[in-house]
């Protein structure tokens, strides 16, 4: 079974370089550095590169040359999303344009003063979603297992003007359980990424892009059992520093986690059909 190792690539020093460039040379210069950084990652990360190659070749049915070019473009876009995340968090949100699609679903949550569960995926740039939701005065609490990212998030929290996304890290001491319950009690928004799991987690399977894949069971079990609206939310990057938020109400039978997973898989397939380069799971997702 394919599982994520619980660590993402990238270091605090890497972030420091990009923050320096964004502040002193501008966003376009930071992007230009990606020409080399992307190539470096293509060469220096054989396992990740192979996994993305298989995604383009098998799941997207691209030819050999197109798959190779798409790997480089995938790393490049991923780098852009990281630079954008840093720039937006640092107060440069006015350098970007935003488009809302399905924002009425989020407005409805705010109007009803209801808690909400958002399920996203490692596509696009979900972490900038808070900047779409400023008018709702609700902080998004992202449930994560990303151990290595803690150092980076802590560094960003220290230097950034207003970190708006809270993080709930899954811990052995179960503190995350009470954090999740507190947020729901307080009518807040919890966000799960429904596409990654770590060793020891329960999984569910679904046919995804033509082949069976494993997904973490937790987000779907919890979301299907709680009487809380569930939305699928993705923030996708488009050309010219434009971000497009998609929010869709999940339709599923109450307490039926499999039907929720099915709806989720369909929604990611639709998004990836439109944005095939923005799949950012760098491991063999479809491995049996």
């Amino acid at each position: 079974m394919a599982e994520w190792e619980g660590k993402s690539r990238g270091t605090v020093s890497g972030y420091k370089i990009f923050i320096f460039l964004i502040k002193h040379a501008g966003i376009p210069v930071a992007y230009s550095l990606l020409i080399f950084v992307s190539l470096y990652y293509v060469i220096s990360s054989p396992h990740q590169t192979a996994a993305i190659y298989r995604y383009f070749r098998r799941q997207r049915q691209y030819g050999f040359i197109r798959s190779i070019i798409s790997i480089y473009r995938n790393y490049f876009v991923f780098g852009q999303t990281i630079i954008d995340k840093i720039a937006i968090t640092a107060g440069l949100e006015h350098k970007y344009t935003y488009e809302f699609d399905g924002i009425e679903h989020i407005r409805q949550l705010a109007k009803n003063n209801s808690a909400g569960i958002l399920i996203s995926a490692h596509v696009g740039n979900f972490e900038v979603s808070q900047y779409f939701m400023g008018e709702f005065d609700k902080q998004i609490h992202l449930v994560t297992t990303d151990e290595e990212q803690r150092a980076i998030k802590s560094y960003l929290a220290n230097i950034m003007a207003k970190p708006k996304t809270g993080f709930i890290v899954l811990n052995d001491d179960l503190s995350h359980v009470f954090e999740i319950n507190r947020v729901i009690d307080e009518k807040g928004m919890i966000c799960f990424t429904g596409d990654r799991f770590v060793e020891g987690s329960k999984t569910m399977t679904a046919n995804f892009l033509g082949r069976e894949a494993h997904f973490p069971a937790g987000p779907f079990l919890i979301s299907s059992r709680l009487s809380t609206p569930v939305l699928f939310v993705y923030v996708m990057r488009e050309r010219h520093r434009h971000y497009h938020l998609y929010a869709r109400t999940a339709t599923f039978a109450h307490r039926d986690a499999q039907s929720l997973l099915h709806a989720y898989v369909q929604s990611i397939e639709q998004i990836l059909t439109k944005y095939p380069l923005q799949w950012f799971n760098y491991y063999d997702f479809w491995k049996a």
Binding site: L170, N171, D172, D173, L174, S175, H176, V177, F178, I180, N181, G200, S201, K202, P216, A217, G218, P219, L221, I222, R225, L226
Partner: protein
């Protein structure tokens, strides 16, 4: 509420929600292992306990909860604390 009532209510929702056979639930059996709980399953467990017994749990309450007996003790102590 008596301890027997606590055990009866608890076992009933555990069997239903976590889809386990009744004989899996033994007082000294390991809770996590028997119910096959992962880190997010505990969210369900806490919600179920709180809604069934009208109590509020905290992170530190689970420090010494390893077996079903420990869980019944925890629920009992919380109920008596608010009684």
């Amino acid at each position: 509420m008596s301890r027997d009532e606590i055990i009866d209510i608890t076992n009933r929702f555990l069997i239903e929600e976590f889809e386990v056979e009744p004989d899996v639930i033994q007082p000294d059996a390991d809770l996590k292992e028997s119910l096959d709980l992962d880190s997010l399953d505990y969210v369900d467990l806490v919600v179920l306990i709180e809604s069934n017994f009208g109590i509020k749990l905290e992170s530190k309450d689970f420090t010494n909860v390893n077996t079903f007996d420990n869980l019944y003790d925890l629920i009992g102590s919380k109920i008596h604390a608010i009684a």
